[in-house]
Symmetry: C2
Subunit: 165 residues, 2 copies
């Protein structure tokens, strides 16, 4: 399969997982987190499928097209391992959906970053909330959520935050 | 439609147009040109669907992942309005398929560049060859080719180089 073909399938998986997760958390109040802004395409999708949610964006240096940049007071700029800690002071444990899409072409590095992010992200997530991720995040307090039928296993990931009941 | 959704549709249109065009020129000998390397995903697709073709890449500063970079002797680096002229000395009028995907978020600028590229590109294209493009290229010596059924008109473009018979 060409890189173009697998890229298309990954983007479709991302879209389908986010649409699915947004429906699942519809009844829960709380903000949405977008980790990794990139060019802002997915941020634009999030705000279109969840127009009434506050969406907080975490990004090191994303420069989205001006027409779909987040408002300045919704961006945590800097290294995600630091900004996730700062975000707890602002948001507490209130987030109901996170989209995690920070990765490099280096799979091992991406996995290691995801492993370090998981516990910091977990602090921000309300029990029962969902994490949709482009990389596997095998964190002990999260359960694997079955993917929508359109998404091939391993192409995208959805986790439910078990939390403490 | 969100930016993510329209991006997915554009990538699918690109793939479908390239697959269609590659079949159409199958019997014609000659190289393929990729104008705009970007991250190399589409280059990888081109070489997978046309493994026996020489593919020449034109790019100002594309940095594809190493595993699917073109060989050094198949890249024309620099401003496309200059490298297309240089390429004529190397290739003559032999190319049978061009994929043009140089654009900015500024539609007007993209159209103007395409307009300046068209006559320079035309010199390199064998009569009956095809130009697949992400932007409209209304050049007087090219005919509009009907798109594959999967592609919405205006989302991608295919032209046939009429040439002089």
């Amino acid at each position: 399969m060409s890189k173009l073909e697998s890229f298309i399938r990954r983007m479709m998986a991302q879209r389908d997982c986010l649409n699915f997760a947004a429906q699942r958390i519809e009844a829960m109040p709380g903000p949405v987190l977008e980790l990794g802004l990139g060019n802002g395409r997915t941020y634009d999708h999030l705000r279109q499928i969840m127009p009434d949610r506050d969406i907080y964006v975490f990004d090191r240096n994303g420069r989205p097209f001006a027409s779909f940049a987040p408002p300045d007071n919704r961006i945590f700029r800097g290294e995600v391992l630091e900004t996730l800690i700062q975000a707890y002071d602002v948001l507490g444990k209130t987030a109901v959906l996170t989209h995690y899409d920070i990765g490099t072409t280096n799979t091992e590095k991406s996995s290691k970053l995801a492993e370090r992010v998981s516990p910091l992200l977990n602090r921000l997530m309300y029990p029962g909330s969902l994490v949709v991720s482009s990389v596997a995040m095998p964190f002990s307090h999260w359960s694997v959520v079955p993917l929508p039928a359109s998404v091939k296993p391993g192409r995208y990931f959805i986790y439910r935050v078990d939390g403490l009941r």
